[in-house]
């Protein structure tokens, strides 16, 4: 089946890119000023702990051997120990990953759906007031400065009207209580997720709306739209079943392309809301000079971005029969 070959080829490409990123990171690590050993080793540890980590990471070996150790460690999941948390890094990142995925995937999917829906309507009503308003609003949303918008939401909806909590993912009181069952816990997480979700949703929706709108405007000029009208189909069917169905395809590709940008936004949002995800950990780790954690977070995000790109590509191949057959 064509798709299987396609996926395998892309997986190979991703593996190569990832490998290149790993190598570059290693080179930078060695090039950076200061003592590489000190970067991976917490001065507060006992000499035995220091010894242990040094030998594990091969920091006392010549460069080529070190590189091999580096790769081996990475592939076996050993990222070193976080200074700040005092725990092996792998525990931390696997704990945080689901939170990021939850927030990011939900906001991207909702934003894409909303963007496609409103972009379709805006293009259909091109030139009219509703279109002008939608386009300008989308433009404003698209260019909002994410952390500032996040702060505004926290201030107005969190602080002033108090509808939502100001940060974090859970209210400890809820979870500590033995009587709370799963739905209540889920609701608590949802409650905390609302503001960061809104931040990411609004900013991303603007982009998707603009994209869908211009894609739709192009699609509406196509000949098969004339055919559809000629067949006597209602305007709604022409718009949704014929035009939008085609116009949505480039938007899906762009979800992949704009991932880099939206992950930036995601990291900023997580930081402002102290949402315990990989992005927030990266920022905090850099601030705390916790290099092992920072490096691991970065690599994990790189892996996530590459995988997400693959998923989007497969989705596109599935939706566009010209690629599948």
């Amino acid at each position: 089946m064509e798709i299987k070959k396609f996926i395998l080829r892309r997986l190979l490409e991703i593996a190569i890119i990832f490998f290149v990123i790993l190598t570059i990171l290693f080179v930078l690590f060695r090039l950076a000023p200061g003592d590489p050993v000190a970067r991976m080793v917490d001065p507060m540890w006992t000499p035995e702990e220091v010894e242990h980590v040094i030998s594990q990471l091969g920091l006392d070996q010549p460069i080529w051997t070190q590189y091999l150790y580096y790769l081996k460690n990475f592939l076996s999941g050993n990222f070193g120990v976080s200074f700040h948390y005092g725990e092996p890094v792998e525990n931390i990142i696997w704990d945080r990953l689901p939170n990021t995925i939850l927030l990011f995937t939900t906001s991207t999917i909702l934003a894409a759906l909303a963007g496609v829906f409103f972009g379709k309507i805006a293009a259909w009503r091109k030139g009219r007031k509703s279109d002008t308003w939608m386009t300008i609003s989308a433009l404003v949303c698209h260019t909002l400065f994410v952390p500032w918008f996040a702060l505004m939401l926290v201030w107005i909806l969190g602080y002033k009207v108090g509808w939502f909590p100001l940060n974090g993912i859970i209210s400890p009181e809820v979870w500590v209580n033995e009587n709370t069952n799963f739905p209540m816990k889920a609701l608590d997480v949802l409650h905390h997720m609302m503001l960061p979700l809104m931040t990411l949703f609004v900013v991303q929706m603007g982009s998707y709306l603009l994209l869908m709108r211009s894609s739709m405007l192009g699609t509406l000029k196509e000949d098969y739209i004339v055919t559809a009208r000629a067949k006597g189909l209602t305007e709604k069917v022409v718009r949704n079943h014929h035009a939008a169905r085609n116009a949505a395809l480039p938007v899906i590709t762009s979800i992949g392309l704009s991932l880099a940008f939206s992950i930036n936004g995601g990291a900023l949002t997580e930081t402002v809301f102290t949402w315990p995800g990989i992005g927030k950990e990266l920022v905090f780790a850099v601030g705390n000079n916790d290099y092992p954690l920072a490096q691991a977070c970065f690599l994990l995000i790189a892996a996530v971005v590459l995988t997400a790109n693959l998923i989007v590509d497969v989705l596109y191949a599935y939706l566009d029969p010209r690629i599948r057959y």
Partner: protein, 318 residues
């Protein structure tokens, strides 16, 4: 029996530079089971007529004058909803296959079913299936190909699929807009023969639009030659071919060769379409006409009846 009667129809487009009169005072009739060909170069208005008949003019286009009488009703006056029921059900269209006339993301048989369901929503699945199969048989496409997507079809097959789709609702009239352009000659011939056969078998009236007079002559009973938005000559195939009156018709005919018969003397000319936003007050063909006189420049010509079925928009030639 007259199926369609077009009376003094004018179509214009609002453009940045002014109002463009694409079609000026067109009148013609089409009987049941007959085919009429519109011939002319690009910009002469033939496609506009097709679109106007279907009510598919773009945003900036409108029928500013005249009546289109079909089935006892004036199509120009119909509401959008009423026109929607006429489209495809009564009057269908065959588009150029080289264009993107079929939606690339839907299977071909779905697009045909859609047309049927739009007008007969209560059709049963089994009947739909049967009808699609029958249509495919009619245009000689293997039934297994029904499930395919448009990009998997060859050019000729796509054209046949488009024809099948046009016949889906059993229309009384079909408008074919350049259906053989961009196909190679052999396929072209197949399609033309196919159209002729279908037309005879199902007694459908056809309006055939083309820039190629040879193609039109093959398929159509009557021919309308168009230039700059006007019908400059109208007659039966024999009349127009054997006794062309209008200089433009003569020029068109001279530029193609027949396998039999004498080779007429080719006359080289490059026709320039006159400005349709501010059309000349006299004959529109004046600039390029080899037979033009001084009177032609300022006085608009009128139709001369050469016979009850043959007329030409020229006052000079006999």
């Amino acid at each position: 029996m007259t199926l369609l009667s077009v009376e003094n129809v004018c179509v214009s487009y609002r453009t940045k530079n002014g109002v463009l009169n694409a079609v000026d005072d067109i009148s013609f009739g089409l009987d049941e089971g007959r085919s009429l060909g519109f011939v002319g170069e690009s910009g002469c208005g033939k496609t506009t007529i097709g679109m106007a008949l279907m009510g598919l003019l773009p945003e900036n286009g409108s029928i500013t004058q005249g009546r289109i009488i079909y089935g006892g009703r004036d199509l120009v006056q119909l509401s959008a909803e009423a026109m929607r029921t006429v489209r495809w059900n009564e009057i269908a269209m065959i588009f150029q296959a080289a264009m993107n006339a079929l939606n690339p993301v839907h299977r071909v048989h779905e697009q045909i079913r859609e047309a049927i369901l739009a007008h007969h929503p209560d059709t049963l699945q089994a009947d739909l299936q049967q009808r699609v199969e029958m249509l495919f048989d009619l245009v000689e496409i293997p039934r297994e190909r029904m499930q395919d997507y448009p990009h998997q079809f060859s050019g000729g097959m796509k054209q046949r699929a488009i024809i099948a789709m046009a016949l889906a609702c059993d229309p009384k009239m079909v408008i074919a807009d350049e259906p053989t352009t961009a196909l190679d000659v052999i396929v072209q011939d197949q399609i033309l023969q196919g159209i002729k056969t279908i037309q005879n078998r199902m007694n459908i009236s056809v309006i055939f639009i083309s820039h190629d007079i040879a193609v039109v002559a093959d398929v159509c009973h009557d021919i309308a030659v168009m230039f700059a938005g006007q019908i400059v000559e109208f007659g039966s195939r024999e009349e127009v071919f054997e006794t062309p009156i209008h200089p433009y018709t003569r020029l068109l005919l001279s530029s193609y060769l027949t396998l039999d018969g004498e080779r007429p003397e080719p006359i080289a000319f490059a026709a320039k379409t006159p400005n349709l936003i501010t059309p000349p007050s006299g004959c529109r063909f004046y600039e390029q006409c080899p037979k033009a006189t001084q009177a032609c420049e300022n006085d608009p010509p009128e139709y001369r009846e050469i016979s009850s079925t043959h007329r030409a928009l020229c006052k000079v030639v006999d």
